[in-house]
């Protein structure tokens, strides 16, 4: 498990409590020491206690990966490249790699799984993505959750599902790796734009219309970049979009809300002391779409607000005319 955030913490809880050994790479020495001493991650889901006979926190990346059959990526998208580039190109040769990252490689506008396949010369059948509507906080509380493992390799998907399934987690396999991964990225754009709209003063009627139109925008984009039949009402797509867009605690929504209320992008980031994934997602998807030229009024509005400093009120006025 690579990453020390809330999602990495939740997945480590699920996998280890199901009996898997988890070598857990965290960047922070302090956090690893805290985990070894107290069995809790000091920063995220700190109520969860880990069994150190199964969970091995470490700051040594190669050590964490060496013996692993599966490598689960759960670092922020913005850092995944700098983390993985430290590894030898053959380091993942015989591994199966599951991305739990809901963002793209910013400098490349590339899906995380595409980057991993390229960098480590992996076959697509070694790759999967974990998606579905799943607040890590609810996993910590053992609330009923549903996950989808997307992989072109049906066996890989099913095997990883088996590692996840327990009393409160249901998991099912799917084949649409790319579509699920793009959708997980794009839902952050929608949550962020919903935040902007809310910050400007739009209400729940508008948000419902925004999310409905978002499904159509995502569908158009997916059909352009990776055409195949898919039902976007499946929980890996729509469910994930809903849990993010309707969460009061979503970082993307909070960030968008601050921008909508008039904070500059910089000051919103400083105030939140972090970067919302959606901020990068907007740029990647917008830039990818320069070639595809799909009608994407929501992504375009967010792009102009975040990267071209157009006033949120102005962009929301333009956007509202394009929704129905």
């Amino acid at each position: 498990m690579l990453g020390g955030g809330s999602w990495a913490t939740a997945l480590t809880k699920i996998l280890s409590e199901n009996g898997a050994r988890v070598d857990w790479w965290l960047r922070s020495k302090d956090d690893v020491q805290h985990l070894l001493r107290t069995r809790h991650n000091p920063r995220y889901l700190s109520a969860v206690q880990f069994d150190l006979n199964r969970v091995y926190p470490t700051t040594d990346l190669e050590d964490a990966i060496e013996e692993a059959d599966w490598v689960v990526l759960a670092v922020p998208a913005a850092f995944v490249q700098s983390v993985l580039d430290k590894l030898d190109r053959d380091a993942l040769k015989h591994k199966r790699v599951i991305s739990a990252i809901k963002g793209m490689i910013p400098a490349k506008n590339q899906l995380v799984t595409d980057y991993v396949a390229e960098r480590f010369r992996l076959n697509r059948n070694q790759l999967g993505v974990i998606a579905g509507p799943c607040h890590a906080e609810e996993v910590a509380l053992e609330k009923q959750s549903y996950l989808t493992i997307g992989s072109p390799d049906a066996d890989l998907a099913l095997e990883f599902c088996e590692l996840l399934r327990n009393r409160y987690v249901r998991a099912h396999p799917a084949t649409d790796l790319d579509g699920i991964e793009y959708c997980a990225v794009m839902k952050n754009i929608i949550a962020l734009t919903g935040g902007i709209a809310h910050g400007v003063g739009y209400g729940d009627n508008f948000l419902a219309v925004l999310v409905s139109n978002a499904v159509q925008e995502i569908r158009r984009f997916l059909q352009a970049i990776n055409p195949q039949p898919r039902d976007l009402s499946a929980s890996a797509y729509l469910g994930d979009l809903l849990v993010t867009a309707y969460s009061q605690f979503s970082r993307n929504r909070t960030f968008g809300g601050m921008v909508g209320r008039g904070y500059s992008v910089k000051s919103a980031q400083l105030e939140m002391n972090m970067v919302a994934e959606g901020y990068y997602a907007v740029k990647s998807i917008f830039e990818l779409n320069k070639k595809l030229k799909v009608h994407m009024p929501i992504t375009s509005a967010a792009y102009r607000v975040l990267y071209e400093k157009v006033a949120p009120t102005v962009e929301m006025e333009i956007l509202k005319e394009q929704l129905r």
Copy 2:
């Protein structure tokens, strides 16, 4: 305008402020007198002030209808039959009738527009339905809202859209009268079931999965009862579902929440001093489905909790196994 509730009040505001004359039938003499004296509906959206040169509140049903080109139905579904049965069978002969009711005729398991067509021998081209994600409270606050007018008659739909459009209301026509009307009924079942799940202790992860599966359940039902191609991500379907299922103020969700926490159906109704539309909707759709035999795990679970006194915890356990 027939009805004195919040939706009738909101629609009367929109239509009258756009310049239409609205003869407004309310059942309560006190409310009519209060309106005539203070220009406010004492019970709903009481901040809204009406122009009595355009709005004519009355308790005389025939009087309200006599001169009208359009008749808008906005009484609770449970009462619409008893109200309309007072009218002569020819009373709506040359009218165009728009249903703003999000429920079915309980005794007949019949769509309101089907009942009206039958009772008053109207052509389907005289009928329409008004739908879309629209909290009346947000209309009162003039928050941006979107409405859809569904009618087999494109001119009728477009003309009524024109009557609604203003600075904060966008309206567009659609042809799928039945699908939109059924969906408006079914979304209350979903909100109610979401309330039950929440009352039992399920969280936001589960709600997102429930709503995603609900789209599929609604699609299956619509394809069985009225097969035609339709995009359920349009705001008249999905948007309406979202604004209801994610509203903290939804009566259906509140009612379901009380049942989920262990109130009996009767005591929940007494406590709320009203009946949630979804309560009747569950029965109507469940009974309609006895012939259709569509797989409807959500509606079935709600039915067994509300009408067969199965414990909510038991039904949610069964339901969770059927979702994905």
